[in-house]
């Protein structure tokens, strides 16, 4: 057995000669350098400062929105909607694959031209492949009396801005 065997040959995996040691050292340093390069590349490719438009939109004075109206802004990709309960803002970006939806006044629904998803004016999905309803954005009244919309903050639905 291993305890009493004097002539027992050394275990091959325990024996490290000079060549094997340097091979491992070399491969180890190369692996470390590769991991560093990978992490460095990942950080380099992720921009830290983005020159994208501000998520906060000034939607203007509430009086310009008629009762029961849906106003779409294609530049900021939001809907500003006024109903009896108050004002609210929806994202116009379809939750399926990011196409710009459009308000269809003839049908009274929001429809996506890409893959046929349909939503009510409250963002609820009626038909199509969209996995989620259109998100509601946080809205508030600025000190100047304008409706402000924050496209970066999604709120639970049915929270109206009452004026």
């Amino acid at each position: 057995m291993a305890e009493d065997g004097k002539s027992e040959p050394a275990q091959p995996e325990q024996e490290v000669n000079r060549r094997a040691f340097f091979t491992r050292l070399g491969l180890g340093s190369l692996g470390l350098a590769a991991a560093g390069t990978l992490s460095f590349s990942y950080q380099y490719m992720s921009p830290n400062v983005l020159y994208e438009p501000s998520p906060i939109v000034n939607a203007g004075n509430p009086s310009k929105y008629a009762m029961n109206s849906v106003t779409e802004d294609r530049v900021t990709a939001i809907y500003l909607i006024r109903v009896q309960e108050g004002f609210f803002s929806l994202s116009a970006i379809c939750t399926h694959l990011g196409c710009m939806t459009a308000w269809r006044p003839d049908l009274g629904i929001i429809a996506c031209p890409c893959h046929g998803s349909r939503f009510t004016r409250y963002g609820k999905k009626i038909a199509g492949p969209a996995p989620r309803p259109l998100p509601w954005y946080r809205t508030w009244l600025s000190d100047d009396g304008d409706i402000m919309v924050d496209r970066a903050t999604v709120i639970p639905p049915m929270q109206f801005l009452r004026i």
Binding site: P47, L50, Y51, E52, H96, L97, G98, C99, C114
Partner: protein
């Protein structure tokens, strides 16, 4: 006339300058012709000898060679298009329109680039179907099939990244939808999209990233894998030839070949038991 031309040709190929460039020397012997391939840096990855019947149209339909041809057209026309194209917003769209309406031969080059891209994708698929249905992917060629699948992916990525560059509505929404599909990858999906676009929107960063991928990164990857793909043809024993029948008849057609394979498979299964 022809005699004189041959004389000059002979004198040229025997000159010291010629011999300093082409070490294989002149001569039409089998050895010389093999050396011409073997000792040339561009040709040495190819087999020095090819079976005569493998050069016939019905052996391969030349689908791989045609794919390479479209790729070379794409590289040349692509480089020429780069002389007029700025990958910036909104200049890219204006440059595309300039190529169409203002630049001499711009319309021709842009259309050639676009149609060759469509043809290349179609030819890659045709080539793969051909290889698959002829069984040319089987050992010892199985690794070259894997290289081929990588080349298919590189081709599709080249096609996709090139789609954004005109910076028109079609480009914008195709990339919006495409990168949103990437977002569906579990856990890292949104991160992949962010890295691809260099932001959250299809914007100036995305255009520049797709431009660099389309003009530098992916073509380099394609060339690298094309070289390995061709070299492997030689290493794996040349182009795949169907098995000839003992009586010298035409190689068996698919149905009877299938029955042979089935009987071999059955025999092997029995043997394993």
């Amino acid at each position: 006339m022809a005699g004189k031309f041959d004389l000059y040709l002979d004198r040229m190929t025997k000159s010291r300058l010629w011999r300093s460039i082409f070490r294989s020397g002149s001569g039409d012997s089998s050895l010389h012709r093999a050396q011409k391939i073997q000792q040339n840096v561009f040709l040495h990855i190819l087999p020095t000898k090819v079976r005569r019947r493998m050069l016939r149209l019905d052996a391969t339909w030349y689908l791989g060679t045609l794919t390479l041809g479209t790729f070379m057209v794409l590289v040349i026309t692509g480089i020429l298009l780069m002389f007029y194209y700025h990958p910036s917003v909104p200049q890219a769209y204006a440059d595309m329109k300039d190529l169409r309406y203002v630049v001499s031969a711009g319309l021709f080059l842009r259309n050639l680039h676009r149609w060759s891209a469509q043809a290349m994708v179609a030819l890659v698929f045709a080539h793969m179907f051909r290889v698959f249905y002829r069984g040319a992917y089987r050992p010892p060629r199985e690794f070259n099939w894997v290289i081929g699948v990588i080349l298919l992916l590189v081709t599709l990525l080249l096609s996709y990244t090139g789609y954004l560059l005109p910076w028109d509505q079609l480009a914008f929404w195709a990339i919006t939808v495409g990168t949103n599909i990437a977002k569906y990858v579990p856990l890292i999906g949104p991160r992949i999209r962010f890295l691809l676009l260099g932001g959250h929107l299809v914007n100036a960063n995305a255009l520049l990233r797709f431009y660099v991928l389309h003009c530098v990164v992916l073509p380099l990857a394609a060339v690298l894998f094309i070289v390995v793909h061709f070299w492997r043809i030689r290493k794996d024993g040349g182009l795949y030839a169907e098995q000839s029948q003992a009586d010298g008849r035409k190689p068996a057609d698919t149905p009877s070949l299938k029955s042979v394979e089935e009987s071999v498979a059955v025999a092997e299964a029995v043997e394993k038991r």
